[in-house]
């Protein structure tokens, strides 16, 4: 009896301690402990936001460290989503989301369309100006985001596009277009040129090759480039702060910053709003991280 119990314990231990050659159980245990510690450091601050979002309004200012607070409540979520009728306050939450979404989606659409076409030329044609163009696009990645913001701001002001979502779309396209071209060029480079030549012989023109062969083949890459561009603009704060000054145009980062500014009741609402925004983004991110990483290694690290 004891021997079987002992062996089942051993089996359980062995399940956990799948060892690489030469590692002692003690070392494996240490490695797990280190990883658990690191995971806690990585996750706990994020969990804190969830905790705070669940706190009742009268218990915000506390030195409590529990993850699920006492008297947990969803009041903050309701206030963020639907306003507070008792204080006659409306909620801008959906408006912010819509503002962000419309601006960032359109930016991404423009970038992906421009990039899909020009990246193809950069990948397949050898034309005078090609390498200069590529180096230039790479250099733009070195320019600080804030650097072109001032002239752009003044330009937009002159064109009366400050305080419009169109102005923000233009400002976001500055960094999004070159990055998307790089990402897509990296992908096009991996499509064998044989396919295009086969299509040319089959009777296709250059244009048909692009629409019937290249675009269908790169649809996943286009989706990823879109996602890339979208993620880049989705939680942007600094540029939006400059271009948008009217409340009803605020994107969500500007919006929730109005909550976060004071250490008051609004902190809970800030936390609730953050959780609702962050969870879908994180799910999307973790789901697509494999591609994001391969895109990063293709587009940036290779350069």
């Amino acid at each position: 009896m004891t021997s079987t119990r002992f062996s089942s314990l051993r089996r359980a231990l062995r399940w956990f301690f799948v060892r690489s050659r030469g590692d002692s159980p003690f070392k494996t245990l240490l490695i797990h402990l280190a990883l658990i510690g690191a995971s806690i450091i990585a996750v706990y601050p994020v969990l804190r936001v969830v905790t705070i979002s669940l706190r009742p309004n009268d218990a915000l200012l506390t030195t409590d460290l529990r993850i699920i607070p006492q008297n947990a409540t969803l009041d903050n979520y309701r206030t963020v989503l639907f306003g507070d009728p008792t204080k006659n306050r409306q909620s801008d939450f959906f408006l912010w989301l819509w503002n962000s979404f419309s601006v960032v989606a359109v930016t991404s659409i423009i970038s992906v369309i421009l990039a899909a076409v020009s990246a193809y030329a950069f990948s397949r044609f050898r034309f005078p100006g090609r390498s200069a163009g590529l180096v230039f696009l790479l250099t733009t990645q070195m320019i600080p985001a804030g650097m072109l913001l001032l002239p752009l701001f003044i330009m937009l002001a002159q064109l009366r596009m400050i305080n419009t979502s169109l102005g923000l779309i233009i400002a976001y396209s500055v960094s999004s277009v070159p990055l998307t071209i790089w990402t897509l060029k990296g992908y096009y480079d991996t499509i064998p040129i044989d396919l295009e030549e086969a299509a040319l012989i089959d009777g296709a023109t250059r244009f048909t090759v692009f629409t019937k062969i290249i675009l269908p083949l790169s649809s996943p890459a286009l989706a990823i480039a879109f996602l890339f561009s979208f993620m880049g603009g989705w939680s942007e704060y600094l540029v939006a702060r400059v271009v948008l000054q009217k409340n009803d145009l605020y994107t969500w980062p500007l919006g929730i910053f109005t909550y976060a500014q004071q250490f008051t009741v609004a902190w809970g609402q800030f936390a609730a709003a953050s959780v609702m925004i962050a969870v879908p983004v994180m799910v999307l991110f973790l789901y697509s991280s494999k591609w994001l990483i391969s895109g990063l290694t293709l587009g940036s690290v290779k350069g």
Partner: protein, 499 residues
């Protein structure tokens, strides 16, 4: 030819449409009780869609017109001498109009300024034409918005007609590079408008005294002397309000170095821990990339409050640690060395003032940015580690190399192709990244946590020193350019980029 009935072919789209309407109605019904508390409304959505739709249409119609124009230049040639004259004149007029519109755009954005007069009216001739068309349309009873749309349609029809005429007068010809240039053209125009033009504008701005007082560029004066003044102010005066250039530059270097060192070493440590056959690897990995997955803005704003002196996480932890140390030291007061040591620790470790003390404020932004940046490096390094064949380690083990020697002589050299560009990019990104600083401390206290870019941002948008900021931006650009050039020299040129 296609025997599938029309309705069958459009069925999928129909389903989508019906689905969307269903979702709309369901959501609407669910939200109805709360609708009064929500500011977003269908009207707002539709208004935005029309605004953006018009914008997109204008962009793509404009691009299409330019594309067709160049297509005809590259791929069509006139049939006869006579048609050649007509075609070239048409194309010349088109190019002239285009040039005028570009110049008018420059004028309007204050790249240069023209006095009222003949020259200016010539410059604005195409715009006047369009405005004229628009007011005519408004004259026949259209609203302001729809007249804009209609004049766009009228213009497109006119261009289509002209292009059709051109098409009829020409025959096809082949062009080797035409295709490439046509494909690059839209992005080229985009880059021209979005990057090159603002950059030129910034250079001009750097040689001006533009500020809030001059109403930006409206009453600004330009001249080399202003550029010189801006430069002198930059190096001798304050960059935003309190801090000086070299102080901030030093802090920027410190900021970049500390961040990158911690990102790489932290990422390396975690990647090495993860890179082995073991249970729960995927689970740890997912947890460890959390800081990267959460939007930075949210993290920064959340941590901003966690650095609060009383209710923030960090001081709670520190004060808990402090009280524990106090307890221990009281319990051990009789133990000779240990007792003294704990007493000393209890006296020195405790809550700090993250907001008021410049040192701790800087530490607070560093902690946040390091926490944010480690997962990226970890993932990159892990990818690099996984691409190293296991056979190298087996060979090294047979040769009798210790674990450390394996790391030193196999892992590190083979990681180089992945690590070097990642580190370089890390340096550039960190150098330029100030959203964490801006959101947590806003550079305070007394700009003791500002780095170059955040100072620049504040100089422009908090203190409205436009001319000065432009010069500041150029100096930062030169610093980065020098860094990039050194990197390219070291890494062996741009061959790998353009191939």
């Amino acid at each position: 030819m296609d025997e599938t009935p029309l309705i069958r072919r459009f069925l999928p789209y129909l389903y989508w449409l019906i689905g969307l309407f269903l979702v709309y109605f369901v959501v609407n019904a669910l939200i109805a009780p709360y609708a009064s508390g929500i500011t977003l409304s269908v009207q707002i959505v539709i208004r935005r869609l029309i605004e953006i739709g018009g914008f997109l249409l204008a962009i793509f119609a404009g691009l299409a017109i330019i594309e067709v124009y160049f297509y005809q230049i590259f791929f069509r040639q006139p049939r006869t001498i006579l048609t050649a004259w007509i075609v070239r004149i048409l194309q010349g007029v088109f190019a002239g109009m285009g040039l005028l519109m570009v110049l008018a755009f420059f004028e309007r954005t204050d790249l240069f300024r023209l006095q009222e007069g003949l020259l200016r009216s010539i410059l604005y001739f195409p715009n006047t034409l369009v405005d004229g068309l628009r007011s005519t349309l408004m004259g026949i009873g259209l609203t302001k918005d729809s007249s804009g749309w209609m004049s766009g349609v009228v213009l497109i029809v006119i261009f289509a007609g002209l292009f059709f005429l051109n098409h009829q007068l020409t025959v096809p010809r082949s062009s080797k590079l035409g295709m490439a240039y046509l494909l690059v053209l839209p992005a080229f125009i985009g880059v021209l408008v979005l990057i090159i033009y603002p950059f030129l504008f910034e250079i001009k701005l750097a040689f001006s005294n533009a500020s809030l007082g001059t109403q930006a560029t409206k009453n600004a004066q330009y001249g080399l002397i202003y550029g010189w003044n801006n430069l002198v102010t930059l190096f001798t005066g304050t960059v935003a309000k309190d801090a000086t250039f070299f102080e901030v530059l030093g802090r920027t270097v410190l900021w970049t170095v500390i961040n990158v060192v911690f990102h790489v070493s932290g990422g390396m440590a975690l990647a090495l821990l993860l890179h082995r056959p073991m249970k729960l690897q995927g689970f740890y990995r997912t947890l460890l990339v959390f800081p990267w997955a959460v939007p930075t803005t949210i993290v920064a704003m959340a941590l901003r409050n966690e650095f609060d002196s009383r209710y923030g996480l960090f001081n709670i932890l520190l004060s808990n640690l402090n009280s524990w140390l106090v307890d221990v030291s009281q319990g051990m007061v009789s133990v000779p060395v240990l007792g003294e040591m704990f007493a000393w620790l209890a006296a020195h470790i405790g809550p700090v003032s993250w907001r008021q003390d410049p040192f701790w404020a800087f530490v607070s932004v560093l902690i946040t940015n390091i926490w944010l940046g480690i997962p990226f490096m970890m993932v990159i390094i892990l990818g690099g580690l996984q691409s190293i064949s296991h056979e190298y380690y087996e060979a090294a083990e047979i040769d009798g190399a210790s674990k450390f020697q394996q790391f030193r002589h196999i892992t590190l050299p083979l990681l180089r192709p992945v690590l070097t560009p990642a580190v370089i990019l890390g340096v550039v990104w960190t150098f330029n990244k100030f959203d964490v600083i801006y959101l947590i401390t806003q550079g305070g206290p007394q700009e003791k946590t500002d780095i170059l870019v955040s100072s620049m941002y504040k100089a422009a948008f908090s203190f409205y020193r436009y001319g000065f900021t432009a010069m500041f931006a150029l100096v930062i650009f030169v610093i980065l350019l020098a860094f990039a050039l050194v990197y390219l020299r070291v890494s062996g040129g741009l061959k790998s980029v353009t191939e």
